[in-house]
Subunit: 206 residues, 2 copies
Amino acid sequence: MTSISIIGSGKMSGAIAEVAARAGARIQIIKRRATSMSAARPGLEYGVLGDDLTGDLVVLAVPYGAYASVLDHYRDRLAGKIVIDISNPIDFTTYDQLTSPADSSTAAELAALLPEGTAVVKAFNVNLGDTLTSGTNGTTPTTVLYAGDYADAKMSVAALVEAAGMRAVDVGPLTRARELEAMGFLQIILAALGKTRYESGFALLP
Amino acid sequence: MTSISIIGSGKMSGAIAEVAARAGARIQIIKRRATSMSAARPGLEYGVLGDDLTGDLVVLAVPYGAYASVLDHYRDRLAGKIVIDISNPIDFTTYDQLTSPADSSTAAELAALLPEGTAVVKAFNVNLGDTLTSGTNGTTPTTVLYAGDYADAKMSVAALVEAAGMRAVDVGPLTRARELEAMGFLQIILAALGKTRYESGFALLP
């Protein structure tokens, strides 16, 4: 049975937990503090930052600026896990740039900080949260684009997405995270400007 | 009446000519050589590289690598025109990177080469040609994303797109061309891999 740990408890954490629940996965949500943890249900447990991670897949569902503090707790314990980077490191004071290096990506930066050989997969960053919760985007199943350098890890992420009734599309090696982050940036700008709804966004048509 | 000059005679040239024809624009297509120019019809004239440009809008529908030779002919004559950059400068030997600078774009590079104050608009690079020719992408009108620093120039491009029955969406200043080029790159990879059809691709849902 697939198991997933989601670090963070914001909107994207909830959306990915919903995806995992549809896929029948065992879910752990890691919060910053041990408050409001009463909503646990079968298949869903809560933990606080520092607790052991029970999932084989680990999603960093915190802003990119908080990655360092997450790694303070978990860097060594992420060895052997499949680490999913969903971030869009937008400078929200200006909405005018990404804070990741122009020729790289948060995913590549993260991979460089983790123990050698840790499989990082970029995924879900081009999905507005509501399209994950609902599983649909317009009239089509939501498409999840993903990139990474480890085939097995990518297959695990694709299997989760597909078990949740969505379409998973491999866009290539982790270097493609640069382009996924650019596209995620565009999508968030367009949603903020009202050019698309937060319930839809970009769709990859078949 | 809108008038447009399209430099280049490949697939995207034909697709944008079709858009312009639907919009009722006067069209000039500039070819490299004076061969097969017999297909002119009312509202459509042909020219060869070096001929004067009759359009207020000028589309560079040649590969990015050919921009320099186009500028040899036209740099000074582009002053006062609205120059539309549609390029996706993919390294087609590897399909693994863009040849534009990581922190910039072909559009910004082009603007720097033109006479000061020339209005460059990035547009059409996230549209596979067939979606321009048909005007539809899946069940929705094709959306044309565009970026630029000159409001009047952007309005002219948007007016052409809308007169052709499509949706035009302003994504911001010319710096956003970086992200449009990243997204165009992803789309071409996905079409080449068969993950989307050349008749569809990414759609921005309302």
